[in-house]
Amino acid sequence: MNKSKTSSNIIYVILVLIVLVWTLLPIYWTVTAAFKSRIEVVAWPPTFIPEKPTINWFIEVWYDRPNPNYYANSILAMIGSTIIALALGIPAAYGCARYTFKGRQDVLFTILTFRFLPPATVVMPLYLIGRTFHLIDTTLFLSILYGGMNIPIITWVMLSYFREIPVELEESYQIDGYTRFEAFRRVTFPLARPGMVAISMLVMAFSFGEFLFASILTTSPVAKTLPVSIAEYMGGEWGYMWNQMAVLTTYGLIPLIIIFFLVRKNLVRGLTFGAVR
């Protein structure tokens, strides 16, 4: 009995190590590449710790091209799209969870179908729409698109979240003399917050890293995003500029890591909701 427990513990530890290496090694590799010299980054055998670490790339990347602009655009699109997705997805989820109306299932299914479409198939139409409304090369357009793409996932995740919160809680608030909106704000919203935080993280990560739409629908430092900028370091007279790409990726990790640390408590609760009840 004791022996089998030890061996299952060992398997558990090995599995955790595999997952850790799988997720952390690429990040480690990228971050260290940002500190390596142009020679060392392509050296064989590769070095795991930079031999002569340098921060020159960080400075060069910041001043060489309008990367600060791209960076800001990415963050704006991330925040904008998350706000749009939450503002539309949460009321949709709440409405479908709490009210019965004709065609509710159809509404939910229709929302889900938006997710079935491969993005590549809609890029050209979107470009034409954007041109008509003078939205090409604007952060607003990206925010709307990213927001729209994430409404389905927010709606569906929050739907099950709201359904788990007993309706009596809200009713009790109303009976105690508060309006229905107040009941939502004071009971349901706080209870659903961990879920919203968790799902917002996913939306943010998606919006921050989106490449396809951004590469086609933005053309100048006014709206171009970080992933597009990274791609532009590929090819050209200098060949693949691994160091610059690694630096930009490292910059890109920072906001997500900060947000993650700010919300980590809610995140864990949000992701385990339902599983522990």
């Binding site: 007993p166 009596e168 809680l169 009713e171 009790s172 109303q174 009976i175 003399g177």
Partner: protein, 361 residues
């Protein structure tokens, strides 16, 4: 403290399920009415209509003389306790009790005094500063009751408040409800599927089934003169024996007969049954009213005891009279399974229902 009047209330869910069917009733100011019926009979729906949580498909709700049918729950000043203890988990018990008072924008001093009083009455004082969400179901339900009765609501609605708590706390909570009612003369509607709760608590009892109000009367009348065979069977433990019989006039008597059963009533008493054209009626007799004897008695029917249950306070006998099964209840009668007995239905205790289940006698 108001009188509640329901006029022709009908509620249909999703255009298909009729939960309440043309129901009218009045709850007098200061009375406790127990709404009794099996699960799914529409009693909770009716309660929610009174509270304003759902609007009836048709019909009207009045408090005193004012129509409240379309008024939002927060403006009705009705208090309600739900079946599952609802507390605001992140708040302390104190804040829970103070909550409806804050909605009314009372002063902090007054809130403090009222909460203290209420906590003492409900024995919640030791828990006041603790988080409500961390308490057991009984304390939670007590808190939830306190939150309902701390303000002077028009009426208090209790939706099976005792169902989800342990038996000991149930007694305490029940006593608190009765004391509160006696002191405040509050109008209370009490939903339950437990008939002993309904019979002991209610000034009047409303028995519902399939969304229809079957009988609305005092406990005594509901018990002794059930309006229909459903009420007769539903009330009582075990419920009334219902035996389908053919009847015919023999001399100055009417004789009711079924397999193993033969009862006669004076014609003058039972002549109403003659209106029943099908020739059949349902005879009802409560198990506790059946007379049992081991010796032959006049008009006694012979039966065999097939099951004998001693439940302490009383004894329940299952009797077989040829093809008919009857249950009898008697606190003293001792008998062996398989023993033959003489059984008599005293005529003043007999009830007769027509084929639709409506009472004739």
């Amino acid at each position: 403290m108001s009188k509640i009047t329901l006029k022709n209330i009908t509620h249909i869910y999703d255009k298909r399920v009729k939960a309440v069917d043309n129901l009218s009733m009045e709850v007098d100011d200061g009375k406790l009415v127990a709404l009794l019926g099996p699960s799914g009979c529409g009693k909770t729906t009716l309660m929610r209509i009174i509270a304003g949580l759902i609007y009836p498909t048709s019909g009207d709700v009045y408090f005193d003389e004012d129509r409240f049918t379309d008024i939002e729950p927060e403006r009705r000043n009705v208090a309600m306790v739900f079946q599952f203890p609802v507390v605001y988990a992140t708040m302390s018990v104190y804040e829970n009790l103070a909550f409806p008072l804050r909605a009314k924008k009372l002063g902090e001093e007054e809130i403090k005094r009222k909460v203290k009083e209420m906590a003492e009455f409900l024995e919640l004082t030791p828990y006041l500063e603790m988080k409500a969400g961390k308490q057991n179901a009984a304390i939670k339900q007590m808190t939830s009751l306190g939150r309902a009765i701390i303000r002077d609501a028009r009426c208090v609605l209790l939706d099976e408040p005792l169902t989800n708590i342990d038996p000991h706390s149930r007694l305490i909570l029940r006593e608190k409800i009765l004391r509160y009612r006696a002191e405040k003369k509050q109008t209370i509607v009490y939903v339950t599927h437990d008939q002993s709760e309904a019979l002991t608590l209610g000034d009047k009892i409303a028995v519902m089934n399939n969304g229809i109000l079957l009988q609305y009367d005092t406990s005594r009348n509901v018990y002794e003169r059930p309006a229909s065979s459903f009420v007769a069977y539903f009330i009582g433990n075990p419920g009334m024996n219902l035996i389908e019989c053919a009847f015919k006039k023999v001399g100055s008597k009417i004789v009711f007969e079924s397999d193993g059963i033969k009862v006669s009533l004076p014609y003058e008493l039972a002549k109403e049954v003659e209106k029943e054209t099908s020739g059949k009626v349902v005879l009802g007799i409560r198990p506790e009213h059946i007379e049992l004897s081991k010796r032959k008695v006049e008009e006694g029917m012979l039966g065999t005891c097939v099951l004998f249950e001693d439940i302490g306070i009383t004894k329940v006998l299952n009797l077989q009279l040829n093809g008919t099964k009857v249950r009898a209840k008697n606190p003293e009668f001792e008998v062996e399974v398989g023993e033959k007995l003489y059984i008599r239905f005293p005529e003043e205790r007999l009830r007769i229902f027509n084929s639709k289940g409506e009472i004739i006698l």
